[in-house]
């Protein structure tokens, strides 16, 4: 009797395993701690139910995300099976063997990169850039955009005051200079009995903040990293007169149109400044826009969104990430299973519904997409003109040099814009010489 019972239990267990197709694994997905990460937790419940695998999540706050995750990869750590890493990490991830190359897997599973927006495939998946070598699946499209207090912009008294002061209508800015003018108009202005300020921009020194903010102006003025892509010839591109002008513009913006004490601010500080009613406008990643729109105090009818305004050209700073399988994981099969599941159009549609930014064409090209959220059309417009930082294996060194030169000039008021950019070329040249690329 006892034996029969034992056999029955064994048979049931085997049958159960068969239903799931394989042994269940505990997978850990690493990402930054922000709004879309919560949406992904929700989305992944479906994967758990379908596959039998258990999903764990390691979310690290943005200021420490790169530090924490790159240390993890460099030490060959097994904390993460899946990593949604920043676009700039792709070079290091590929060349240092941190990420699994996904070409064979994509071919075997019929996953085509043609199904994803070309800009996101180029930025999040390929290394060397633009080559058909894929180390990630585009997971979260993103760019730096702007939002503003629509209720203030539409207030008749404020509109009249703006008209009287500038001779122009108060509207969503159509250029970087117009945006500065509007921000300066709001700077120190009394609205509803409180002093308000122009805009919250990125000035953070420690990780990537001021670079991500200032490049919004630099790209719009026509800044380029190299004279010819892949040449590492930076003289005249990085320190062009247009680049210097853009940097001077960002410094003026910082000095004349931001709240006091705004010297080391990034995403969180910008969101706080906007939600507490301190500023009329703020820059931040599109990833935060669903949460802002849902905010009971400043969301809904009170908020409006716009794409980074052009100056000499239309351009936005690229954010966003691809999802990669970590080469040190001993659960790579299960991790690949997750990617296969995530790449499905139905899952991508749900991802967008939950607040994630899908890069799948089936979602982006849907006729109803532009009207699906008040910022959806801006997102598409931004993604059409995105530019990204260096994605070289030495990206961290390149980024830290830019952080230092920009912060020294913009916040610490040392030297001129031209000097800052000239020194930046010296730093980057030294790095590329060390890398054997120059």
């Amino acid at each position: 009797m006892k034996t029969a019972r034992y056999l029955a239990v064994t048979a049931l267990s085997v049958a159960g395993m068969g239903a799931n197709g394989a042994l269940a694994d505990d997978l850990t997905l690493c990402w930054a701690a922000w709004d879309p990460a919560n949406a992904l937790v929700e989305l992944s419940k479906e994967f758990e139910a379908e596959s039998g695998h258990t999903m764990n999540f390691e979310f690290v706050p943005w200021p420490n995300f790169a530090d924490r995750m790159l240390n993890e990869l460099n030490s060959g750590g097994q904390l993460c099976d899946l990593l949604i890493g920043d676009s700039q990490w792709i070079g290091g991830g590929a060349e240092n063997g941190h990420y699994v190359k996904l070409n064979d897997f994509f071919d075997a599973e019929g996953i085509s990169m043609d199904d994803f927006a070309p800009a996101t495939v180029y930025a999040y998946s390929t290394w060397p850039k633009g080559s058909p070598n894929y180390y990630a699946l585009p997971a979260m499209g993103d760019a730096n955009g702007w939002f503003y207090r629509r209720d203030w912009f539409e207030n008749a008294d404020i509109q009249a005051a703006y008209k009287a002061e500038t001779g122009q209508d108060l509207r969503e800015p159509q250029s970087q200079q117009e945006m500065l003018q509007i921000a300066q108009f709001f700077q120190g202005r009394e609205i509803d009995g409180q002093t308000r300020y122009g805009a919250a921009i990125f000035t953070e020194r420690g990780s990537e903040g001021i670079t991500m903010g200032a490049t919004g102006a630099l790209y719009a003025w026509g800044f380029k990293y190299e004279n010819e892509p892949g040449s590492y010839d930076m003289e005249g591109a990085v320190n062009s007169p247009e680049a210097a002008e853009a940097l001077e513009f960002y410094k003026t913006f910082y000095e004349t149109a931001t709240p006091p004490g705004y010297t080391d601010s990034y995403m969180e500080q910008g969101l706080d400044a906007f939600k507490s009613g301190q500023v009329a406008m703020a820059m931040n990643w599109f990833a935060f826009f669903p949460g802002l729109y849902a905010d009971p105090d400043v969301g809904g009818d009170k908020i409006g969104f716009f794409v980074n305004p052009p100056q000499n050209q239309a351009a936005s700073t690229l954010g966003g990430q691809g999802i990669s399988v970590v080469a040190y994981s001993d659960k790579q099969d299960a991790a690949l299973e997750y990617i296969k599941w995530f790449a499905q159009p139905s899952v991508q549609a749900k991802w967008w519904d939950l607040g994630g930014y899908s890069a799948h064409n089936s979602v982006l090209n849907d006729p109803g997409f532009k009207d699906s959220a008040p910022f959806a059309a801006d997102f598409l417009e931004a993604m059409d003109a995105v530019q990204d930082f260096w994605q070289e294996p030495a990206y961290a060194e390149l980024l830290l040099a830019m952080q230092k030169r920009l912060h020294d000039y913009i916040v610490a008021d040392q030297g001129t814009a031209q000097e800052a950019l000239d020194k930046l070329i010296e730093d980057w040249t030294e790095t590329f010489e060390d890398e054997g690329k120059l």
């Binding site: 530090d67 790159l70 240390n71 460099n74 290091g92 240092n96 063997g97 020194r205 420690g206 709240p259 006091p260 004490g261 705004y262 010297t263 080391d264 294996p393 961290a396 060194e397 830290l400 230092k404 912060h407 020294d408 000039y409 916040v411 610490a412 008021d413 040392q414 060390d434």
Partner: protein
């Protein structure tokens, strides 16, 4: 006759072992006792130091284990010593070091002298004064960023109350001129109690009869202070300066939390700069050379200082 513990240990030792030990010289037994300590010292101190010196002559990067490592001779040292940005971080460190020590010694000694006078509530005041140094530097750094906040920070309001200035008219951690002082103020607030405690120990070690003898000789309070108090507390004070000097030379957590090295790089102390080179840029060889330069600097200065301290003690 009662047995001593040594007798009991000798009797408990098995004859075979006892015979073997009896054959060892005193020097051999001494080596057996110190060997584990020496082994640990070699493993956790000396070996890493030698390894770091070795790495400092290479272009090694810890995040590129597959890249070929090349010996670059003294290039890393040359780069560091001719880099104007590194000299700026050295200047920032020197400013921080000198002013924190000066302020902590002056305020710490004054507080110790006051606390040493017997009055009601003496113990309570001692406990209150000592509280800041019991906090975590990361916590202190964090909450001082709020105190320094130009719009809501208490510090700005207190200064505004006494000066009549607008609280949001100045930024302690956002201004190039004020930020170096902002970190000095916080470190002084946190670590003055430590100097005070050491000075207090020195003051309490002075026997009363010396002051009584001086009083009989009709020495004024002022003369007693300069000829008895100061010389007898000086070795303690110098010890406090040594501790604070070494600690502040490698200051990291408090300043990172407070300013992150900014604005620009005006509060980027050498330890912060070194961390960025080693663990953010991953220039391991370069950072090793940097660490060796700092080590030699601290070691050299500390050795000179300890010699001076010993001379003061001998007086």
């Amino acid at each position: 006759m009662s047995q001593t513990p040594i007798d009991r240990a000798a009797q408990a030792t098995p004859t075979r072992v006892a015979r073997r030990i009896r054959g060892l010289s005193d020097r051999a037994i001494a080596w057996i006792f110190v060997a584990p300590t020496i082994f640990l010292l070699l493993a956790v101190n000396i070996f890493p130091l030698i390894w770091t010196i070795n790495l400092s002559f290479t272009n090694f990067r810890a995040n590129r284990p597959n890249r070929e490592v090349e010996y670059v001779g003294l290039r890393n040292y040359e780069r560091i010593l001719t880099d104007s940005d590194i000299w700026l971080t050295m200047q920032a460190t020197a400013h921080f070091l000198i002013w924190t020590i000066v302020l902590q010694v002056l305020i710490g000694f004054t507080l110790a002298w006051l606390i040493n006078r017997k009055f009601r509530g003496n113990d309570l005041w001692t406990t209150i004064i000592v509280l800041p140094m019991m906090l975590s530097p990361a916590v202190v750094g964090n909450f001082w960023t709020f105190l320094y906040q130009p719009q809501i920070g208490l510090f700005n309001y207190v200064v505004a109350f006494f000066t009549g200035a607008d609280p949001s008219s100045f930024e302690m951690i956002g201004s190039v001129t004020l930020a170096p002082w902002a970190i000095v103020i916080v470190d002084t607030w946190m670590w003055t109690p430590f100097v005070m405690l050491i000075c207090l120990a020195g003051l309490r070690s002075i026997p009363d009869y010396i002051y009584e003898a001086a009083a009989i000789d009709r020495a004024s309070k002022w003369r007693q202070f300069w000829t008895i108090t100061v010389p007898m507390v000086l070795p303690f004070l110098m010890l406090a300066v040594l501790f604070r000097g070494i600690e502040n030379f490698k200051m990291f957590d408090l300043v990172v939390q407070l300013t992150g090295g900014g604005p620009g790089s005006v509060t980027e102390l050498t330890s912060i700069n070194l961390k960025r080179e080693a663990f953010e840029k991953w220039r391991t060889g370069y950072a090793s050379a940097y660490a060796i330069i700092l080590f030699v600097t601290v070691f050299g200065l500390a050795s000179i200082y300890v010699k001076a301290l010993n001379k003061v003690k001998e007086r």
